[in-house]
């Protein structure tokens, strides 16, 4: 009947109104007004500052200081949109200009004293400060974060951890002041993740007490070396070391590649990697060494040294073990990538969620206001689980930082496994979230100044550098396998990496799941542990069976990648859940704890819904999978009222979000167009 009335009205209007002037029509048609979500959304049920503190902890003040520095400087491209100030790099500038701007911003931050003590102060606190500073810069621009990361974490880290006192004294302070600009020459055209396979060769000349670095073939050219194309004066060069015709494996050397005036040194050739899909503010370059001679002291000799008369000296005899010890400290790259991917994710999500709380589309009934995007259950399903996941993964990333800065000789393995798993999981989550946010913003998502689309190409490389995600996940499974076998051999309970649950009997899951079961920590922990345990057992038994048939171990690991990947994810998910529970335990009962509980349930439920392994291996029956799916819908509607407060608690200042998250009518109005 409504429809009939509606049609009648329209027809009547057609018949009677055809002569009215357009001005009249314009006056009666109501225009869309921007209404800030702060007005329409319920005020927060919990203390948003307290939630942010769970994410950023003690670093909050430092992060905000960095934001203050960037927002107030003209070097960060301040622009006004709809009455608010935004900062973001100008991606429309040519590559050369973007690189120049990145260096000018670094110069500004240096003037502000941001880098003082980065490498010369000691202790975990100083290390955390470094993470915080580089990652805060990365919120503005990934290129800026990466330029700092290469200089301080990779080059600086190589000096700190692979070098000894003589290197520290000589290089660390000039690195902080940028008298020395470092790069990290590890990857080659022919070898990336497989560092042991690199082809650069270094030999020793006892007569002059010099090393001679050489690029023997085109595939040995150093490739993707950040900072090499324009700026770097020095490189940490990774190379095979040949002493008296014996290859002693990969070692690192300090080589000067440019003089003080920026001219490329003799016996070094450098070329640009060219324009990239993102990160064009970083000057990635290629380097060839033509028997470049460097002093003997430039070998980074924490693990092995060469005596003046040319003898190879190392306390670790096994070359494999030596390589592992040598590479161990370099996990800081993965730690910071994991953390920085969380910032990107938060930036994209906060922008898309704010937009979805102010943009409407379609009326459900004629003459009714159009529906707010986030009031569509489908839109909720797209964005809200990503918020919960982001919190969960962010807690894990903070936990990883703590594990890293408190590392000991004994915990190196844990750092390696956890950083590998989380780097892969978090960067995958980041890319997936940005794609979803891009689509959720519709056409506005493809506009560069709204960030979400552009961020995809700026951050895509995170899935590859510091170890390809798939390779990392397989390494995680391999490490779990080794742990399991080692414990079995010693007939001792398995310890560390949170695997202790394997010593207990397998948890028994209820046959028929209900909504309330799904929300208990007991069930959530049980099913995540069961999945990890079962997959580890399956993996071990498959590998053992193949070993019994006489297959080569490396070959076995390449053939069992499917289960290895499932296991890697199971480990990562269980680890993330554990850190979430640890964070929750620190919060007193109340509204904040309640919303954390809701997000934890969302996190576990969405993992169960999305990862096929739960059905594949039968941890969920098809009936129970249906209960899980229904629960997602319910959790979405329960999280919906918290959406704005949850993205506000990310703590990303408005100035660093996309203008589409604010008054998009004003920022697109005719009066805002620059009329020439």
């Amino acid at each position: 009947m409504d429809r009939v009335n509606f049609r009648t009205q329209i027809i009547t209007r057609h018949l009677t109104n055809h002569h009215t002037s357009t001005t009249n029509l314009l006056q009666t048609a109501t225009c869309l007004n921007y209404s800030p979500p702060e007005l329409s959304e319920p005020s927060s049920h919990f203390d948003t500052n307290a939630l942010r503190k769970l994410l950023d902890g003690e670093s909050m003040d430092e992060i905000d200081h960095m934001f203050n520095l960037m927002i107030q400087s003209d070097l960060f491209c301040r622009r006004e949109r709809g009455g608010k100030v935004f900062i973001s790099p100008d991606f429309n500038e040519p590559m050369e200009k973007q690189r120049e701007m990145t260096m000018r911003r670094i110069g500004y931050l240096k003037e502000q004293g941001v880098f003082d003590g980065w490498l010369t102060s000691k202790g975990g606190e100083a290390e955390l400060l470094g993470f915080t500073r580089a990652n805060s810069c990365g919120v503005f621009d990934h290129s800026l974060g990466i330029k700092l990361g290469v200089h301080f974490f990779l080059w600086g880290g190589a000096i700190q951890f692979m070098g000894t006192k003589r290197h520290h004294d000589k290089w660390l302070r000039p690195t902080e002041t940028y008298e020395v600009i470092g790069c990290f020459a590890m990857t080659e055209l022919g070898h990336g993740s497989n560092v042991r396979g690199i082809e650069t060769v270094t030999t020793y000349d006892a007569n002059t007490q010099e090393f001679i670095i050489n690029t023997p073939c085109e595939s040995a050219q150093k490739y993707w070396i950040g900072g090499a194309a324009n700026d770097a004066t020095h490189a940490a060069v990774f190379s095979q070391l040949e002493i008296n015709g014996v290859n002693e494996g990969v070692h690192a050397f300090i080589a000067q590649i440019r003089d003080g005036n920026g001219n490329v040194c003799k016996n070094v050739r450098i070329a640009d990697c060219g324009h990239k899909i993102g990160l064009n503010g970083v000057d990635n370059g290629r380097i060839w060494f033509d028997n470049l001679r460097i002093p003997r002291e430039n070998l980074l000799n924490s693990v092995a040294d060469v005596s003046p008369d040319g003898k190879y000296l190392s306390a670790i005899k096994d070359p494999l073990q030596r390589f592992a010890a040598f590479m161990a400290p370099l996990t800081s790259g993965r730690v910071t990538i994991a953390a920085s991917s969380m910032n990107t994710t938060k930036k994209g999500l906060a922008t898309a969620v704010r937009y979805s709380l102010s943009r409407r589309a379609f009326s459900l009934k004629p003459n009714e206001p159009e529906v707010l995007l986030l009031d569509y259950p489908s839109h909720q399903r797209r964005l809200l689980p990503l918020i919960a996941k982001t919190y969960a993964l962010n807690f894990a990333s903070e936990c990883l930082k703590t594990i890293y800065v408190n590392r000991t000789q004994e915990s190196i393995k844990i750092v390696h496994v956890v950083s590998s798993a989380l780097k892969a999981t978090l960067t995958w989550h980041s890319m997936r979230t940005l794609q979803e946010c891009r689509e959720a913003c519709g056409g506005q998502g493809v506009k560069t100044e709204n960030h979400v689309g552009q961020l995809k190409s700026e951050y895509d490389v995170q899935l590859t550098f510091e170890g390809d995600n798939n390779v990392l996940m397989q390494q995680v499974s391999k490490a779990l396998f080794m742990e399991f076998i080692a414990a079995k051999k010693k007939t001792k309970p398995i310890e560390g990496l949170g695997l202790e649950h394997l010593n207990k009997p397998a948890p028994v899951l209820p046959l028929n799941l209900t909504s309330s079961t799904l929300r208990t920590t007991q069930f959530q922990t049980d099913i995540f542990c069961l999945r990890e345990r079962d997959l580890l057992h399956r993996f071990v038994s498959e590998v053992s069976q193949r070993q019994a048939q006489g297959e080569n171990k490396e070959h076995i690991f390449t053939m069992t990648y499917q289960i290895a990947e499932d296991l890697g994810r199971a480990f990562s998910d269980r680890f993330v859940l554990q850190t979430f529970l640890d964070v929750e335990a620190t919060v007193p009962a109340g509204s904040l704890k309640n919303v954390l509980g809701l997000m934890r349930s969302m996190y576990t439920t969405i993992v169960m819904e999305e990862d096929a392994s739960f059905l594949r291996y039968g941890y969920l029956s098809t009936d129970n999978a249906a209960v899980v799916r229904k629960e997602v819908l319910k959790l979405c509607s329960e999280l919906r009222p918290h959406a704005l407060s949850l993205v506000s608690s990310f703590g990303i200042p408005d100035a660093l979000l996309g203008p589409i998250g604010f008054d998009w009518v004003a920022s697109n109005s005719w009066s805002s167009v620059k009329h020439v």
């Binding site: 800030p36 702060e38 007005l39 107030q72 709809g82 009455g83 608010k84 004293g113 408005d654 604010f662």
Partner: protein
């Protein structure tokens, strides 16, 4: 409430001119005035007969600030909560102005300080003139720049806001226009003509109002010869530092290179100010930069209540004694030095008060937040 002659109201068709009328006290805002203004602003928002609000001061000042002397007096007689009532009303008024749907034009003749800035800078148009003197002098008084100053100071170019807020530096009309605190500069002799023109136009359309003010404006008022605005680079270099201590040492380094009156005045004013005030003011501006005006006022309300409660420091009372009551100009700050003001002490100003009767500032729900109301500077 009973009508007061401390705020005079002139009606001219759809224009309302509000005159702060306590000329002997340089129009310092009393509780009576704040309450009256709050009431009037609420009423005018609903009243279709009001399109434009003009705000000015009787006598030679616009407004020298909140009447803190009487607030301190009240507190000493009763509880600090009497003071809380004053600030809660004042900050609510600031919020109302910042989010107001109808344009407010403030004529900033003479002194505009502290609370006086609060009742003008948040409005749409701020007209300054030849004898305008602006300052946020709170750190010298053991207080901090409040009335939403952490919002508008933090939006000034570079780190000028930190400079103005920490040192209490006085700005003239030209400097206010340059940094964005003012929207127009109108020569003194044209002010009354402008007021007549606005009343005659009888409109609430911001574009028309802006055009009218432009007709009377001097677009490029000259800086005085030694204007601090020529020192922006030094200000940015020093006042961008992480802590007050670092700011002072950066200034001292500049002084070592090139000592002059301005540098020595700047260092001196920081050394004279309350150490606690300096630290909480810097943090307030830095946090304010990342917040909306409402959040700023809620935070400042926590701060001002902590100040009045006097548990961490009683500098506010000491400052009022030394500068307003005894006038010996020699406050004895406690803690006496920056290094004695710990992070924990600073943190307490930013936390909710642990007092059962105390509540965070509840700002009125606004039906409309036009884009210019969210950020004007």
């Amino acid at each position: 409430m009973a009508p007061t002659n401390q705020v005079l109201i002139k009606e001219s068709s759809n224009v309302r001119t509000l005159i702060l009328n306590r000329p002997k006290q340089l129009n310092a805002l009393s509780l009576e005035m704040v309450s009256r203004l709050l009431e009037v602003f609420h009423a005018y928002e609903e009243d279709p007969n009001v399109k434009l609000i003009i705000m000015k001061g009787e006598g030679r000042a616009f407004c020298a600030g909140g009447d803190v002397a009487s607030v301190v007096n009240d507190i000493s007689k009763g509880s600090w909560k009497v003071g809380a009532d004053f600030f809660s009303k004042e900050f609510t008024l600031n919020y109302l102005m910042a989010t107001y749907t109808k344009p407010q034009v403030s004529f900033l003749r003479g002194i505009v300080m502290g609370g006086g800035a609060g009742v003008s800078i948040h409005g749409r148009f701020r007209v300054v003139t030849d004898n305008t003197v602006f300052a946020m002098p709170e750190t010298a008084l053991g207080l901090f720049p409040d009335v939403g100053a952490s919002y508008y100071l933090s939006r000034l170019p570079g780190f000028f806001g930190e400079y103005v807020g920490l040192t209490g530096a006085r700005l003239d009309g030209a400097e206010m226009l340059a940094c964005g605190l003012a929207t127009h500069f109108v020569p003194l002799e044209k002010l009354s003509l402008l007021e007549d023109a606005l009343c005659k136009a009888n409109t609430g359309d911001p574009t028309i109002i802006s055009n009218i003010i432009n007709e009377f404006s001097n677009k490029n008022p000259k800086f005085k010869e030694k204007s601090q605005y020529f020192r922006l680079k030094t200000i940015d270099r020093c006042f961008s530092r992480r802590t007050v201590e670092e700011i002072i040492s950066a200034l001292q380094k500049e002084a070592d290179k090139n000592m002059d009156d301005w540098i020595s005045w700047t260092i001196e004013s920081l050394k004279k100010a309350s150490p606690t005030s300096l630290k909480i003011s810097l943090r307030s501006i830095r946090e304010g930069r990342l917040e909306g005006v409402g959040q700023c006022l809620i935070r400042e309300y926590r701060m001002v209540c902590t100040v009045m409660r006097g548990e961490v420091s009683r500098d506010f009372f000491e400052g009022c004694r030394a500068l307003l009551l005894d006038k010996d100009k020699n406050p004895k700050w406690k803690p006496s030095k920056l290094e004695f003001v710990s992070k924990d002490m600073v943190d307490r100003y930013f936390a909710a008060l642990d007092d059962k009767e105390w509540e965070d500032l509840k700002l009125p729900a606004r039906s409309n937040l036009p884009s210019y109301a969210i950020s004007k500077l």
